[in-house]
Assembly symmetry: C2
Homo-oligomer: 447 residues x 2
């Protein structure tokens, strides 16, 4: 088998990876039965399935081998907790001597909170929503104290779980900090910071347009199309050795230079991961620091994190600013705390107030509406954070397969949910998630 054929196989597996950068395994598809019917949460529990259990794991329980795709369902229920064992990663270091335990005020009654899923007249309980959403871990904070905490599936409180596109929100927050500190001018053209992008679509975009994904790109993330640009992007970023005859771009940075423009920037929202990686490049160039080092210095080492985070890298060591982060439930909640508290945690101002305020003001709803996100009809997107513009002013970091840091300022509520839903798109997960979050917010407001 030539490496080219393997690579093509590998690339097609990326249908399941969505925004995940790479695939060390080639793979056989999950059977149509599994895809169509979906095992339930309980049926697909990786411990019950015995995935990767034993020394060695039985052949049919391995999710790391070439013939066992690590991001197909149900294998992904194990893989989301084990990204660093599957892929090369960098470290986002915390301060070894300043982990700060969460404050607890555990609350009864949350499991019994009920809500109506979108487009449904039935009621569902909070408790039942956990299984409906294939939840691996969920933490609810109210007034900065943990009121609810559950670990399921592959996860415990020490587990770094794939954050998927919530990585983008970390990247956006880093960019806002550098803007607040005068290191980046958000109105600057990208080419003035990264001359290598002069000839690309990004050259004449502003930093702000990149941050808000209003760049106009000839670039498709349609995973159903085998000729979509996302495949070339994924291939460029894949750290597997490339065949000698390959003359295409290597790594995120080279690929980004090839993206061309298709219209006018600033008019429409287009959710395209390449923007996040351009922003990752911008913050690295502006600071002179690798993305993971910067994330450590500005955020991870400052918030009392319990664990260092992991971030996947391409073949030249570039962290995947668009989707490579893995972190614990509690550490992600600490990001929620600084976002809810205008940059403060444990009484200390860590993030500039203006950086948080810029994100929290939300984006342009009319620009966002062009993209047609049906489960977020009134939404907007700013600095790689999602805004619901609901009665509570909720906003969120979001990632495929159900990841979220959901912040409800009115209810002083933060929900972090990490999961491994069989469907990547959050449109399949929002119906039993967003109404649950809002119902819980109202429950907490009434306490």
């Amino acid at each position: 088998m030539t490496i080219n054929k393997r690579v093509v196989q590998c690339i097609f597996r990326l249908i399941w990876l969505v925004n995940l950068s790479l695939c060390l395994s080639s793979a056989v598809s999950a059977s149509p039965d599994v895809i169509n019917k979906h095992l339930t949460d309980s049926q697909s529990d990786p411990t019950k399935l015995g995935l990767m259990t034993g020394f060695p794991p039985p052949v049919d329980k391995r999710v790391m081998l070439p013939d066992s795709n690590f991001f197909s369902f149900p294998n992904l229920r194990w893989s989301v907790c084990n990204m660093r064992a599957l892929l090369p990663t960098e470290n986002i270091k915390r301060d070894p001597f300043n982990a700060t335990p969460m404050s607890y005020a555990l609350m009864q009654g949350i499991d019994s909170v009920t809500f109506s899923p979108m487009n449904s007249s039935t009621r569902m309980s909070w408790h039942d929503s956990l299984a409906a959403n294939y939840t691996d871990g969920i933490l609810v904070l109210h007034k900065n104290k943990v009121v609810y905490e559950r670990y399921r599936g592959c996860m415990d409180e020490h587990t770094n779980h794939a954050a998927m596109s919530m990585t983008k929100s970390l990247t956006g927050l880093i960019a806002e900090i550098l803007i607040a500190r005068g290191k980046i001018d958000e109105s600057a053209k990208v080419r003035s910071i990264i001359p290598e992008l002069q000839g690309s679509a990004f050259g004449d975009a502003t930093v702000r347009q990149v941050m808000d994904m209003t760049t106009s790109l000839r670039y498709s993330e349609n995973y159903a199309d085998p000729n979509a640009d996302i495949w070339q992007y994924s291939y460029a970023a894949n750290p597997l050795p490339k065949p000698k005859e390959y003359a295409g771009p290597v790594g995120y940075f080279e690929y980004l230079q090839t993206v061309q423009k298709s219209g006018v920037h600033g008019k429409e929202f287009g959710y395209k991961t390449v923007n996040s990686d351009v922003l990752g490049w911008i913050v690295a160039r502006a600071s002179g620091k690798k993305f993971n080092v910067l994330a450590s210095e500005l955020i991870w080492s400052k918030l009392g994190m319990e664990y260092s985070a992991d971030i996947t890298v391409d073949g030249i060591g570039t962290p995947f600013a668009g989707g490579g982060l893995s972190a614990t439930l509690r550490d992600l909640a600490r990001i929620g705390i600084v976002m809810l508290n205008n940059g403060k945690i444990n009484g200390v101002q860590i993030i500039p107030t203006s950086a948080v305020a810029s994100i929290r003001q939300g984006g342009d709803k009319s620009v966002f509406s062009t993209a047609g996100f049906k489960t977020i009809p009134n939404g907007s997107y700013r600095s790689m954070w999602w805004h619901f513009h609901n009665e509570h002013g909720a906003f969120a970091a979001r990632g495929v397969h159900g990841q979220t840091i959901y912040i409800d300022p009115k209810a002083k509520m933060i929900i972090v949910r990490l999961s491994s839903h069989p469907v990547a798109a959050n449109s399949a997960i929002d119906p039993t998630s967003l109404p649950a979050y809002h119902a819980l917010a109202k429950f907490l407001l009434a306490q």
Copy 2:
């Protein structure tokens, strides 16, 4: 290019990896000039060379790409600090809330200590030995306090550096703990614990023989021989996808079952990494826990470690118990502290006294002498620790390219040295290391 050709290329690069399990990059050899003359420590400083610096690093400064072997010299001067960015790894977790700072009593005069390198009539200073040995980090403790600490090359106090075969000593220590707790009988035949090894050389070896590497194996680690068994072993362990037609063993565990006997166990010392991986399998099977989880529970979470350690894994997630560990200088010193203090650290008994005592009694010198280690003429090997049997009773963990945890009980001295010497074999590094350690021990004794 077929994947088979790539794999062969990759395997040949493993000449440089020695006990490191795998190679994600195929490679071009470093130029003969570099190999033959060796850049000096200063000339090969990875920061001065600009290795992997910039966003992206210039093409000729990349050490991760297929055409730039990451473990050739001088590239390895960067790679030893970045194993997790090159390879899939598992985590050996510390306790997030109990990092315990080192006690300090920094001492003047150490840099001026002099010694005669082996087979030399000249004198060298401690200071000059750091460059002679391509030292990346070195820490000296006296009476459990840090008296000397230097970071050089790619390293700082937050960096996990490749420990190479010092991993074996961690594996040996874990086995001794399980023996002390009655979980493993050291006189048991390996087949009674791992029936899968029944038909291999290890089946009728005792656990003790595996721990002391006195198994008699038809297995060559002669890196100059392209048909040596080490290549099949490395290939089996390599997490790169294997070609469909490959029918050989996959991962450490399957390979180990193929190793055959060539004589009588217990008569001769043979330094062969496969023993360490058998021991890694034994401790996992006996405890029901993955090697990295066990290492965390028994050691890493108990010693006040500052950072979680990394350990490389094979294609089915098996940690490389024979060489995959990366850790910080200080955390490795904490292992030295428990070894010097009969299992205690910070006043608490963490490791059973009998486990440490078993290691510290040393091995059989006559058995060891059969292997002809010229720089350790009076030595022995027990439980994967090296014994010098010098006047101070010194013993050590050791890894290729100059890694050591050197413990001198008489001087109450611990030296941890992490380095990236161009030559893998410690026989090239001992002449300017072992006499330096002994001279420093005498200096400290005189304080």
